[in-house]
């Protein structure tokens, strides 16, 4: 539908300087397109509104780290350093052992045997932590860097974020306690339950899923 509308509108704009008769010929189809006010059917057109983004501002704002870790910055941090940073900057909310302070602050650390094997749908009381649930280690780096500490978001240096990521992964028994993480080693971390995540298969219709 959209493509048809675009073609028709393109035709009408080309012809608009010629005769109104031709415009009239496409009129009914145009009306049909624009009457569906709940679908995005605006024509493709160069409005020349806005300005070009500069390389500097794109670099400054592109802070996310995806699951392949290709955006990870330089720097590194050890579990040992991360342990100290956690005690200084995180434990006041998340608890000395990352046990959380429900209901306000989620638990970060803990591999309760009840929480292994991904049985979370059977019991809401089973605590989900980084180690027993999170599918990607890069998400820890991304989230800590963008949002933590809660009252001073974005205040951590990259080395500190690497160190905290290392501590959280080690305390969750994902990597050894003597680890140091940098871009390459964080990219290589595979989370225990990454294979458990499946794309949404609900499609409406008669099936309850």
């Amino acid at each position: 539908m959209r493509r048809l509308c675009e073609v028709l509108r393109l035709e009408s704009s080309v012809l608009s300087l010629t005769t109104s008769v031709l415009l009239f010929a496409t009129g009914s189809s145009l009306t049909a397109c624009s009457s569906d006010s709940t679908a995005n059917a605006e024509p493709s057109r160069d409005y020349s509104i806005g300005r070009s983004a500069t390389p500097a501002e794109m670099t400054a704002w592109t802070t996310e780290v995806g699951p392949d870790g290709k955006e990870l910055p330089s720097g590194s941090g050890s579990v040992e350093t991360g342990t100290a940073i956690f005690a200084a900057k995180c434990a006041s909310c998340h608890g000395a052992k990352g046990e959380g302070m429900p209901p306000a602050y989620p638990a970060l650390i803990g591999r309760d045997p009840k929480g292994e094997n991904f049985v979370f749908s059977t019991d809401p009381k089973i605590t989900r932590t980084i180690g027993n649930y999170w599918p990607y280690a890069t998400t820890v780096f991304d989230y800590v860097r963008r949002a933590m500490p809660h009252t001073q978001p974005g205040s951590l240096a990259n080395d500190e974020v690497y160190a905290l990521t290392a501590y959280l992964l080690a305390a969750n028994q994902v990597i050894p306690m003597n680890s140091t993480l940098d871009a390459a080693s964080l990219r290589a971390v595979k989370m225990p339950y990454v294979g458990r995540f499946v794309r949404d298969d609900r499609r409406g219709g008669h099936e309850i899923r």
Binding site: T38, A39, N40, A41, E42, R45, Y47, G50, R51, S52, A53, E57, M58, W61, T63, E64, V65, G66, P67, C93, G100, P102, P103, A104, Y105, P106, N117, F118, F120, S121, T122, D123, P124, K125, T127, R128, I130, Y133, P135, Y136, T138, T139, D142, Y143, R146, A147, H150, T151, P153, R196, F197, V198, R199, D201, R202, R203, G204, G205, H206, I208
Partner: protein
């Protein structure tokens, strides 16, 4: 507020116990009192302040609530036709006899819920739209705010708020529902739950903005662009990955709600609106969109907003909200009298139009078609009513929605069968309201 030990529920800001009037007062005072406790992390600060305020509220010399109007109300005349009324005012207020309020208040990381029991029709007043934020509501000067679109595009661009308003615009009515709406009613049903607690994280507005495909066309998408990352300008820089097709379906960049600029809690000055998609993905305070080949797997689409299932898997990117309905009147703690009354409620679907709502007054044994009011709009609340003559015997009221895909709202036990009791989001079970012989109405969640 609940003392739930369920950390995931807590993180999604939902509460499992009914909110009392005292909680409301305490919460309101807590929001102000928090300022004096600057040394404590903000959330704990809010809780401690709420506790302190609660204690203060219980004491005889309670501090007055900070929400007292600047101008005291005039006396209430015996006969309003015999005295002059009040003059015009810059901003209207609700009647002194109306007490429609969100609860709870004072949440820096959390939710406030729409008082569905106090509303009629389908449009939610903007100041009663539910709130959900993860790092407080950012205060943003629109003159300094912009939206960058970059990544896999031919022309990376920056648009000011004024720029955005120069593009072709559209105005549409859509609901926004939090992915966690109804968690407490699903996991731990209690007779004393209000409809505000059961389903108050859905709201419905008229939104105005630019279709997202217009901006994408302006930037020129490269062929590999399959997903986009939307980033907010709040304290957690909330980010979600969205399939590009949504932009060419019905996604919008919105700046107005119900005819006026967005409220700060709803994303002022710009938000993403993804009709029918789970609330969290409708990123508020939108500042950046990056086009890429694959999702970024942010915290809000992996650790949160995923659905653990009985087969040991978790569903990810569950964007579209299944059809749902809820009776909003009569509901707990109402008391009904014998005779005719309207059973009234809301229905909606993230997949399109609602085609049918049925009401049962006998706990689901038999169903009658309810009257649908106004045209059914895609991905929008629709109001339904069913006239019922109560004869004084015990009854259980239920509603059941069907959407244009043929999907029929399931019972709670049907949902538990396919998702488990511990699943975490996207709850749409049939809800019931038990009417006792004395006319008192209680929530009946075990459908």
């Amino acid at each position: 507020m609940s003392d739930s030990t369920d950390s995931s529920a807590a993180d999604d800001g939902e509460f499992t116990s009914p909110i009392t009037r005292r909680d409301l007062i305490a919460g309101a005072a807590g929001a102000v009192g928090g300022a004096v406790l600057a040394g404590i992390p903000s959330l704990a600060r809010g809780q401690q302040a709420a506790k302190a305020a609660k204690a203060a509220a219980a004491a005889p010399a309670a501090t007055p609530p900070p929400v007292a109007p600047a101008n005291p109300l005039p006396p209430l005349p015996d006969d309003p036709t015999k005295v002059l009324g009040t003059p015009t005012a810059a901003v209207g207020t609700r009647s002194r006899f109306v007490n429609a309020v969100r609860t709870p208040v004072g949440q820096v990381t959390g939710t406030s819920l729409t008082p569905l029991q106090d509303l009629t029709g389908t449009i939610t007043p903007a100041d009663l739209h539910f709130e959900r934020h993860h790092g407080g509501i950012p205060q943003i000067d629109p003159a300094r705010h912009s939206l960058m679109i970059h990544g896999l595009v031919d022309r990376p661009m920056v648009f000011s708020v004024d720029d955005i308003k120069r593009f072709p615009q559209t105005t549409r009515v859509h609901f926004v529902e939090c992915s966690g709406n109804g968690r407490s009613a699903y996991r731990d049903t209690k007779p004393e739950q209000t409809v505000q607690i059961v389903a108050g994280m859905t709201s419905n507005s008229e939104w105005t903005g630019v279709p997202l495909n217009v901006l994408f066309d302006e930037c020129g998408l490269k062929s590999g662009a399959k997903w986009f990352l939307a980033e907010g300008s709040d304290a957690v820089m909330l980010t979600r990955s969205i399939p590009v097709e949504k932009a060419f379906d019905d996604a919008m960049i919105v700046w107005a709600q119900n005819g006026e600029p967005l409220q700060p809690a709803q994303g002022y000055p710009l938000r993403l609106l993804l009709p029918g998609f789970e609330g969290n993905s409708n990123v508020k305070w939108l500042r950046r969109i990056e086009l890429g080949t694959a999702p970024w797997m942010t915290r809000w689409e992996t650790s949160k907003y995923t659905d653990p299932l009985p087969d040991g898997k978790a569903r990810i990117f569950s964007f579209e909200l299944d059809a749902k309905s809820v009776i909003t009147s009569p509901t707990f703690p109402a008391t009904v009298g014998k005779g005719w009354l309207p059973v009234s409620g809301l229905a909606w679907s993230g997949r399109g139009k609602i085609t049918r709502v049925e009401v049962s007054t006998d706990g689901g044994k038999s169903w009658s078609d309810a009257t649908l009011h106004g045209p059914a709009l895609r991905k929008a609340h629709i109001r339904f009513t069913h006239m019922w003559e109560w004869n004084g015997s015990e009854a259980t009221l239920m509603s059941r929605a069907t959407d244009e895909t043929g999907y029929v709202q399931p019972t709670r036990s049907e949902l538990i069968k396919v998702r488990g009791i511990g699943t975490d989001y996207h709850f749409n079970p049939i809800y019931g309201w038990a009417v006792k012989p004395d006319g008192k109405v209680f929530f009946h969640g075990e459908t």
